[in-house]
């Protein structure tokens, strides 16, 4: 059993190791070690397009995760205990949004928006001097569609598992509904909302296929990596990958330590 697990971990980490190894190559080839150096880390960090792509990815992911958490939580609250046609309709929407492959979402959003823009721009442009086009907004909106549905599912599961008596007790004690919400419901839901937020952020930050279609002239990090791979990979890509992974690991360790500290101080 232990040997099996070791083998699976080896399988998981062999490619990562290869990536990290070649990121320290001094040559131009990403599949041959030609001396040891960190030049590619320097190149990656001094490449304005890498920095730009990173900024774009981070701001799309942050915006869409915030919108998805807020709207998704609102919808989940409203859907609790709701019956009737509207409920059925919403359940269907959530289900479809999660089920439909990203590639179809990307394509459908692209052709719908291009069609709408093409019919709106001819009178919008002379009037305002401004034309609609694919970009940050369309990408963020497309991500929110999927991630908001995830948040709805997660938060609703939490609401259903929640101890209703606390809320009842709160209103029995004369708290206004709003106060009950802020002081009882929201704190209880918080772990679910946070989980939804993190999932949404990760999804958006990592998404390639939707962005491939609807990002317009914006370049996200996955899109940048994809075109770099086609251009012939230099170890710069390996350096970016290694840095992203190291950063996430670092954040994780930090979060763990902080949680543990918070835990011990409470005790």
């Amino acid at each position: 059993m232990r040997i099996y697990a070791t083998l699976v971990y080896l399988f998981l980490y062999l490619p990562i190791g290869i990536i990290a190894l070649f990121s320290f190559s001094a040559g131009r080839s990403a599949s041959q070690m030609q001396g040891v150096s960190v030049v590619w880390y320097g190149k990656a960090l001094s490449n304005p397009f890498v920095i730009d792509a990173l900024k774009t990815s981070a701001s799309v992911a942050l915006t869409s995760a915030v919108l998805a958490s807020v709207f998704g939580t609102m919808a989940a609250l409203a859907l609790t205990g709701m019956k009737g046609r509207l409920r059925v309709l919403f359940d269907a929407m959530v289900y479809i949004a999660i089920m439909i492959p990203g590639i179809v979402i990307g394509i459908a959003t692209l052709i719908a928006l291009v069609t709408v823009f093409d019919s709106v721009n001819p009178w919008l442009e002379p009037l305002t001097g401004y034309r609609l086009s694919m970009g940050f907004a369309s990408l963020t909106a497309a991500h929110v569609l999927f991630t908001m549905s995830l948040v709805i599912v997660i938060v609703r599961a939490r609401i259903e598992a929640m101890d209703r008596s606390l809320i009842e007790a709160s209103s029995d004690l004369g708290a206004s509904p709003l106060a009950t919400f802020w002081q009882v419901t929201l704190p209880l839901l918080f772990p679910a909302i946070l989980a939804g937020f993190l999932l949404a952020f990760t999804f958006s930050f990592d998404d390639f296929i939707i962005a491939f279609f609807v990002a317009g002239s914006e370049t996200t990090l996955p899109i940048y990596i994809f075109s770099s791979i086609r251009r012939g990979v230099t170890p710069e890509i390996n350096a970016i990958g290694t840095m992203v992974m190291a950063t996430s690991l670092l954040l994780l360790v930090l979060a763990q330590t902080m949680l543990r500290r918070a835990g011990t101080s409470k005790q």
């Binding site: 990562i16 919808a75 999660i98 590639i103 179809v104 599912v153 491939f212």
Partner: protein, 285 residues
């Protein structure tokens, strides 16, 4: 009070409803309309009402076949590899190490799938594993640009998504049940089949569904590890929009893909219900 509660509900649902209307219903409706249209002269879409696009679907049969074979095969392979690991993590491992080992399963997930697949191009290409095999005297292997390479990429890419749900369901397993079974003289394989496996089915169902749904729309892994030879529906779709610019046909194909998925997933859910593994939620989380 009742009316204001109703109003509050509508207000809360407003943004989500708007999103679903503008970014789900509208785009899907446009796709449906376009699927009955034609390709414009220089590419794109020209209005028409024809079933020609649907009639042409047969020419992409191979892409559908590849997807419908490799998506379930990839799901199964991921499950077979993930299950023992999840079992090990949930039941066997020293709890002291559990969190760390679990984290180690997700960490690779944080490197872009693009970069990880790229590593496999190297590993499966002529200078990687095939050279190793040849040096060991195990013959001449060609791995890259084969369905096998795509399968490896799939399992690699989606393994964590399978490990976690299975782990969660196994973790809830009351170990005393296993001890009781052993005390009653049941051999380990019997207690596994009769106790452990049924209890883990919801996790298996969730993980498989998650991976299967993602695989049905897969584009990147076959693109990178299949060399343009192992074609999924996703690859055919990208081709139609980003090369031959046939929006009408691409729309018809999207509609067909979604319909196929709905049928397969509904059948699967029904099957799960019959064996009692389905949960109340839609099986995503």
């Amino acid at each position: 009070m009742a009316i204001s509660r109703h109003k509050a509900r509508l207000l809360l649902l407003g943004p989500a409803g708007l999103w679903y209307a503008a970014l789900l219903v509208l785009p899907l409706a446009v796709v449906l309309v376009y699927s009955f249209g034609e390709r414009a002269a220089a590419g794109g879409y020209a209005p028409a009402f024809t079933l020609a696009q649907y009639a042409n679907l047969g020419s992409r049969w191979a892409a559908f076949k590849n997807t419908l074979v490799l998506a379930p095969a990839g799901t199964l392979a991921a499950l077979l590899i993930a299950y023992p690991l999840a079992y090990f993590l949930a039941v066997r491992v020293n709890p002291k190490w559990r969190t760390a080992l679990l984290v180690l399963v997700i960490v690779p997930f944080w490197t872009s799938i693009l970069i990880r697949s790229y590593a496999w191009i190297y590993l499966l290409g002529g200078r990687g594993i095939p050279t190793l095999l040849a040096d060991l005297g195990l013959g001449d292997w060609r791995l890259i640009n084969t369905p096998f390479a795509v399968l490896v990429g799939i399992v690699y890419g989606y393994l964590p998504l399978m490990v976690f749900p299975v782990y969660v369901s196994l973790e809830k397993l009351d170990k005393r049940l296993l001890e009781a079974a052993a005390d009653l003289g049941a051999p380990p394989w019997r207690s596994f089949l009769q106790v452990t496996l049924p209890l883990s089915l919801p996790g298996v169902a969730t993980g498989s569904m998650l991976v299967f749904i993602l695989l049905m729309g897969e584009y990147l892994i076959p693109q990178m590890l299949g060399g343009g030879k192992v074609f999924f529906v996703g690859n055919a779709l990208v081709d139609l929009f980003l090369q031959s610019r046939n929006w009408a046909f691409g729309s018809a194909m999207s509609v067909t893909l979604v319909a196929t998925m709905l049928v397969v997933v509904t059948l699967y859910m029904r099957f799960l219900k019959r064996i009692g593994a389905a949960r109340d939620d839609i099986g995503v989380m």
